[in-house]
Amino acid sequence: MNGVHDMGGMHGMGPVQEQKNEPVFHEQWEGRLFALRRAMGAWRKWNIDVTRHEVELVPPADYLRMSYYERQFVAFLVLLAKRGFITPKELDAGKPALGSTVAVPALTVEKAAALIAKGAPASRDVPVAPRFETGQRVRARNINPVGHTRLPRYARGKLGTIDRDHGVFVFPDTNAHYLGEKPQHVYSVRFAARELWGQQVAQQDSVYLDMWDDYLDPA
């Protein structure tokens, strides 16, 4: 979707402000939320692309006003309700509905440790032929899907070169909508900065984006 999350190249956001000796979590609730999201993710009722898209659906004015963790919280509440984990009544009351069943947590301490150590690879060991090879000239497709995509607006329609093939990965545009993983090759694609931004930028500079087969056409 052409949302405000797709920020690459926008102006007017102000200077980058670095905080010295910044804590990992600025407030305790941020850490609790961070962990809650992983613990609920272990139920496998959604995937990482679903969670990213849910954050993108936060309306633009709210998205820009909120902190990172505030956005995550709002999107998390919506997702919990959508997938039937909690009801509005339960959230208001702060306790489970009378007579509701008690589950056994999906994420145990042991599984949390394994998740931290191993993660959840997005690569897929399936025989899918690459559509492009290293060094090939490509053009990013000019697509404007209303759903989730990882093809930023600033690269659409632009000419680039395949820098390397990373192998086969889950395709977010379908996976974010529970429409399957549609595994395909992901490449680092090099775009000259001038192709993206015009003649005012340095001639030798470039931006590399990771792109799936479905984002590219031969040029």
Binding site: M13, V55, E70, K82, K95, T101, P121
Partner: protein, 231 residues
């Protein structure tokens, strides 16, 4: 006080087939105040609810928080960089198969399943961003700082990397090539910074102590050892 957020939540959840009506009073006008914020209370209430329903285990939450607050952070990445500086065979492995090379030192896992390491030289400067969200290599750098997740960094790094670097105090010569890596997929990037001058005698541990988080994101260089600190 704005009601936008409450309206949004109602609308969003109505669309989801439910009628969630949380009272989200928190606004940015009085953020980070001393009393527990509304959000702190709301997250606490949500945690209690999920625990009571048997959906989450508090001890598992503590395990996750402890790992990212105390165990996983940029010292891991600094260890990797120092090893690459000290051992050229390791450096080659790191640049050609980062996952395996990083795993040699015991690091890896969530949000670092597919790593790529890019090398800074006097001619080429690499920097990392995620314009679409906030992707970052957790196993080697920990969770990202606020500036990395902020709109200014995400919006400007790709169109004006030299301006952004300048704000970090790094003014690159005009003839250096800048490569910006936008983390649009599940690949996670780590910059191998240039080894500073005057470090030939340093041990791997001493080298690691020089390496900063910012240098591994590519928004800073590694400074030479200060006088009196070197071996």
């Amino acid at each position: 006080m704005t009601t936008n957020r409450r309206d949004f939540l109602s609308a969003a959840v109505t669309a989801a087939g439910a009628a969630l009506t949380p009272e989200l009073h928190h606004t940015h006008d009085h953020e980070h105040q001393a009393v527990p914020s509304d959000l702190a209370l709301r997250v606490k209430a949500l945690e209690s609810l999920l625990v009571e329903k048997g959906l989450v285990d508090r001890a598992a939450l503590d395990t996750l928080i402890d790992a990212y607050e105390h165990k996983i952070g940029p010292r891991n990445g600094a260890h990797v960089i120092a090893r690459a500086w000290a051992d050229s065979a390791y450096k080659q492995r790191l640049l050609t198969n980062a996952d395996a090379a990083i795993a040699e030192l015991g690091y890896g896992g969530m949000q670092g399943e597919h790593m790529v390491v890019v090398e800074n030289t006097p001619e080429v400067h690499n920097m990392i961003v995620c314009t679409l969200c906030s992707c970052y290599p957790w196993p080697v750098l920990g969770l990202p700082p606020v500036w990395y997740k902020s709109a200014p960094y995400r919006s400007r790094s790709v169109i004006d990397p030299r301006g952004v670097l300048s704000e970090f105090g790094l003014d690159l010569p005009a003839d250096v090539e800048v490569r910006v890596w936008d983390s649009t997929a599940e690949l996670r990037y780590l910059v191998l910074p240039e080894r500073p001058a005057g470090t030939a005698q340093l041990s791997e541990e001493q080298l690691a102590a020089l390496v900063t988080r910012d240098s591994m994101v590519g928004v800073a260089k590694v400074a030479p050892p200060q006088a009196g600190v070197s071996a």
